[in-house]
């Protein structure tokens, strides 16, 4: 599942157990604002995505990844680059 839709669907599954406030998840849901995820949880989530697709998402990219859609784009891009 390495197309954009597949990546997005899998990301939702990885997020769900960490979605403490049970907000509805969509492309525009933000990690800090909507889900109120703390930075440690976000970093752990990133680690699980790295392992899922065997990619590297450096922590310095995180400030630009505010929403689920942005993360899906970034992961999809990294997976595609890997070939």
């Amino acid at each position: 599942m390495t197309d954009r839709a597949g990546v997005y669907a899998r990301i939702l599954e990885l997020i769900e157990p960490l979605n403490a406030r049970k907000v509805a998840l969509g492309e525009h849901t933000s990690f800090a604002g909507d889900m109120e995820m703390d930075s440690l949880t976000v970093m752990d989530l990133v680690a699980s995505m790295e392992d899922e697709w065997d990619i590297m998402i450096p922590l310095n990219m995180l400030p630009d990844l505010e929403t689920i859609g942005q993360v899906a784009d970034a992961v999809h891009g990294l997976v595609a680059k890997k070939g």
């Binding site: 703390d38 440690l40 949880t41 970093m43 680690a47 065997d54 590297m56 450096p58 922590l59 310095n60």
Partner: protein
């Protein structure tokens, strides 16, 4: 219209107010009215045993350390009013760096104004654009902030997990510059890193290694250099960072290394260059303390003895501890949640025991701690008193404990 820049902290303001509204003392607002010794202070008129100061070797009131500071204050004045690279390097600063070189048996030593700045400066300066910093997830804030300040790509691996480190190093380009940042002792849980495994993996992937020995200096290893010495990896560690604010008993930070190009860092490391140097009294005290720590064998033995007494005593009373055996001179008691932690902390202070209260983000997610750090000067009687008060506080707070073994 002016946007109130502090409004974003409203949730934290409310949380803190809510905590205090339950009637407990402010865990982040303690004032030491008098400090009687490395292990005792007067807080709000009450004689209090200090069990959360990192004053591991009890050097703060050492007569030679105090005398060296007094002499330097008299001879060199109260401050340098300048950067290390301009007018702020005195004979005292060079003597302090000489003491560090002797203590570590290394060719170079650079003294910073705090340990925080030493990490901030070293991490951000060593790794630049196109390089990678690989850090342990539980790293100290100063390491994370050094990463933020650098232009490198930042990769985080699972705490003390050699397999996870290897997996992440494998994803990096072979020809890129890499800095692996480790700590000898992790200050929240008091656990020790498996440095031989981690360092071997770092070296196998062509990384340079920096180890922060803030909580290991003075009592790990034959010369008291830290966990990296005790575990026998000194030859493979490129940089050791440390602080004067724990075992040394004053304030300041440093990096020591054998790297032949090390001295250039004095000119390019901004947290070294663009701040005033430490006052002469501080570096003179530090130099004396460091030289005394080289041979403080009895104190080291006593520190471990007191640590085992506290760890064993708490365990026997059913407290849940972060490490099964005492790995360092930090003994962390695991607590269920913020409210209970604050209540226990406040009860202990009322009973005359000061420990640190720790919570995320200083601790890993979901971890709340009452953190004890032991001093070589804690007597057995003091430790036993502390154990009794922990017992009393747990009863007063209805803290759930393990069945006593």
């Amino acid at each position: 219209m002016t946007v109130d820049l502090l409004a974003k902290y409203d949730p934290l303001i409310a949380e803190h107010a809510g905590l205090l509204a339950t009637g407990i003392r402010d865990p982040f607002g303690i004032v030491m009215d008098e400090v009687l010794s490395p292990t005792q202070a007067i807080i709000k008129g009450k004689a209090t045993i200090l069990l959360g100061t990192y004053n591991y070797m009890g050097m703060t009131f050492d007569a030679d350390v105090v005398a060296a500071g007094q002499a330097a204050l008299r001879d060199y004045g109260a401050g340098t009013t300048g950067s290390r690279v301009l007018n702020g390097t005195y004979q005292t600063h060079k003597e302090c760096e000489a003491a560090l070189k002797d203590f570590y048996g290394m060719a170079h030593a650079m003294v910073f104004s705090t340990g925080y700045q030493a990490n901030l400066g070293m991490v951000s300066t060593l790794a630049g654009k196109g390089d990678f910093i690989i850090l342990d997830a539980d790293s100290h804030a100063s390491i994370y902030d050094g990463c933020k300040m650098s232009n490198a790509d930042i990769v985080r691996f699972r705490h003390n997990d050699a397999a996870d480190l290897e997996k992440r190093l494998k994803r990096l380009p072979a020809d890129a510059g890499k800095l692996v940042v480790l700590e000898g002792v992790y200050s929240m849980l008091g656990d020790v890193a498996p440095l031989p495994e981690l360092v071997a993996i770092a070296k196998a992937h062509g990384a340079m290694v920096l180890v922060d020995e803030a909580h290991g200096m003075g009592f790990f290893g034959a010369h008291g250099r830290g966990v990296y010495e005790e575990q026998g990896v000194a030859d493979d560690v490129d940089f050791v960072v440390g602080t004067f604010s724990k075992s040394v008993g004053t304030v300041g930070g440093f990096c020591v290394s054998n790297h032949p190009r090390f001295e250039i860092l004095r000119l390019v490391c901004r947290p070294y260059t663009f701040t005033a140097s430490l006052p002469p009294a501080v570096v003179a005290s530090a130099a004396t303390s460091i030289r005394k720590l080289m041979t403080a064998h009895d104190k080291r033995a006593r520190l471990w003895e007191a640590t085992r007494r506290l760890h064993g005593g708490l365990k026997a009373r059913g407290f849940r501890l972060a490490t099964d055996t005492p790995e360092s001179a930090i003994v962390s008691v695991l607590m269920p949640d913020q409210e209970t932690t604050a209540l226990m902390w406040s009860t202990l202070i009322d009973l005359g025991v000061y420990v640190n209260m720790s919570r995320p983000p200083a601790t890993p997610a979901g971890v709340f701690l009452l953190r004890c750090s032991i001093c070589a000067l804690h007597s057995d009687e003091q430790i036993d008193t502390v154990l009794g008060r922990f017992e009393q506080a747990a009863q007063l707070c209805n803290l759930a404990r393990n069945q006593a073994a």
